[in-house]
Symmetry: C2
Subunit: 324 residues, 2 copies
């Protein structure tokens, strides 16, 4: 659905900022707190104790296009932020919603966008406590969501050590076929992993293994990966048939898997760990390799454990690249 209209009476510009905020409040229903606090005040008042915060946008023309329903776009905005909370092992709390639309945004489009966001907010118990509306230049729709959450012991990306094993949840690659909307943030899994105590570095896979996995590595360390063990999605195989690439390429380069990758302490028992996971979750969990060091200096961070050679399946999704 195309977000913009030339019919002035069907656009948000026809009702102005105050009325738009009032409507968003009513569309959100029980997901936004009653006055005196909540949307429309100078600050939002956090409802719960929080120590985590993240901000991520969805942008028309970049993160979605006319082929995507406004509900799916709104749902994705919250889900991608929830995935960041999951990657720290946290529970989500409150959110701020900042909309930057042009005045010709369709009113029925933004109502459905908020509806999709609300559905996810209700499912995960997130409250939209405030935000902002500002007019974008040109014809544009940009929405930022700031999420807050809490983790007793947040798991950073950089906490792993040499000898730790590397794991991923679910299966990877080919998200463009549909998974980049049709995913669930791994919140319950992330919390379980944080509670386990032996997970000491974690990230959610948004830009592909090539770009995301090196973030888990200590300075100077490499990942020795068992390529036979990378869990490939059905979509990775489908994509490979069209792209003339091997399915592994898509797991390393596509991004937007929204699965968790993490390092398990070398001291932990992998078999017992996997058994405990399987008692709790149906979602596959796979050990894909180990953190190691190599004698010769190189920029290559991901190596094939069999050949010790660099893995080169593209560089993951690169942002802000000026295309020729």
């Amino acid at each position: 659905m195309h977000p913009f209209t030339t019919e002035a009476d069907k656009a948000i510009g026809a009702i102005g900022e105050a009325e738009l905020i009032g409507r968003i409040r009513s569309w959100l229903g029980p997901c936004t707190p009653a006055a005196p606090y909540g949307m429309g005040d100078d600050c939002a008042v956090l409802q719960k104790k929080s120590n985590l915060s993240a901000i991520d946008p969805v942008i028309y023309g970049k993160h979605f296009d006319d082929s995507v329903s406004p509900q799916d776009a709104g749902a994705k905005l919250l889900k991608r932020n929830l995935s960041d909370i999951a990657a720290m092992g946290g529970k989500p709390n409150d959110a701020l919603l900042a909309l930057t639309p042009s005045a010709n945004l369709r009113l029925d489009w933004i109502e459905q966008f908020i509806g999709g966001l609300r559905e996810v907010a209700e499912r995960y118990g997130v409250t939209i406590i405030g935000g902002d509306v500002a007019e974008a230049p040109g014809e544009a729709f940009i929405a930022h969501l700031t999420i807050t959450g809490f983790a007793e012991k947040p798991i950073p990306r950089r906490g792993a050590k040499t000898g730790d094993t590397l794991w991923v949840t679910g299966s990877l690659g080919g998200s463009i076929i549909g998974k980049h909307y049709n995913f669930e943030p791994r919140l319950r899994e992330g919390q379980w992993l944080a509670d386990h105590g032996s997970v000491r570095g974690m990230i959610d896979l948004t830009d592909g293994l090539s770009k995301d996995l090196p973030q888990l590595l200590p300075d100077g360390a490499v990942a020795l990966l068992n390529l036979d063990q990378i869990p490939l999605s059905y979509e990775a195989h489908s994509m490979a048939q069209k792209s003339n690439q091997v399915p592994l390429y898509h797991a390393f380069s596509d991004g937007e898997d929204y699965e968790l990758a993490f390092a398990l302490a070398a001291e932990a028992e992998p078999e017992a760990f996997l058994k405990a996971w399987k008692n709790e979750f149906e979602l596959p969990l796979t050990c894909i390799g180990q953190i190691s060091t190599v004698s010769e200096m190189s920029d290559d961070r991901l190596l094939n454990s069999e050949t010790q050679k660099a893995i080169s399946f593209g560089n993951g999704y690169e942002h802000l690249f000026i295309r020729p």
Copy 2:
């Protein structure tokens, strides 16, 4: 200074997202925490106990143009968010910075923008703990900042009652001449007012008295304003000479004063209150009227206390209005 360039090697697109985040981190220096937490992780970890949060953007072509230095634009982004914390009576803590530039943004421009933001962050003890970088469509620069803060007892906009007196700090109008960059968020004043205990509704003046003052009024109440008492700035008088409007028009309509307006409980002693203020601050504080009710129903919320007639000096700054 114009933010964009056609010379690819001088633009942020030449270095990519990861390198840009690294440079922002170094430009921020002591204002951003060391690893493992801080910019670049999935979530930021809040450094201090917070119960307040707000998000506000600056947008090229809307909030600033080529006549504004990048330093001033960066400083304004943080200051307008700090003004929201001030309006709740809070102290600022941590911030997230979300940049949405097009890839042709000048590297030297964004370095200076961050420099201006850092100067304000250092002055007010704010730490930039995380954020996001995403590419804007077209040629654009949008920056959102999410601020967190803490107030023992946050002052909402809507807490005032009939009979309360209405007050404003500083002087109003004509901000476009320079004050919309050259302002200080009224943090110390807002905290003092919250501590005083008799202030029960507060807002920062961003859209002009016409639009902001009604936000303080209980349902069905009006503000009886003593127009002789509205504190007019030098700039309001300057503007009036060019605009063919009275100076009062600019106090009601211009916006971006970043002063505080608040309601003092009817039970409080105005003279003792003003004396206590003057012991603490040089900044003027003025009682401009009182909250009241009127017998006949009307949409007019701001009345001249002498004539009981509606005050009509424009409607304040209206966002998202489709211009013909």
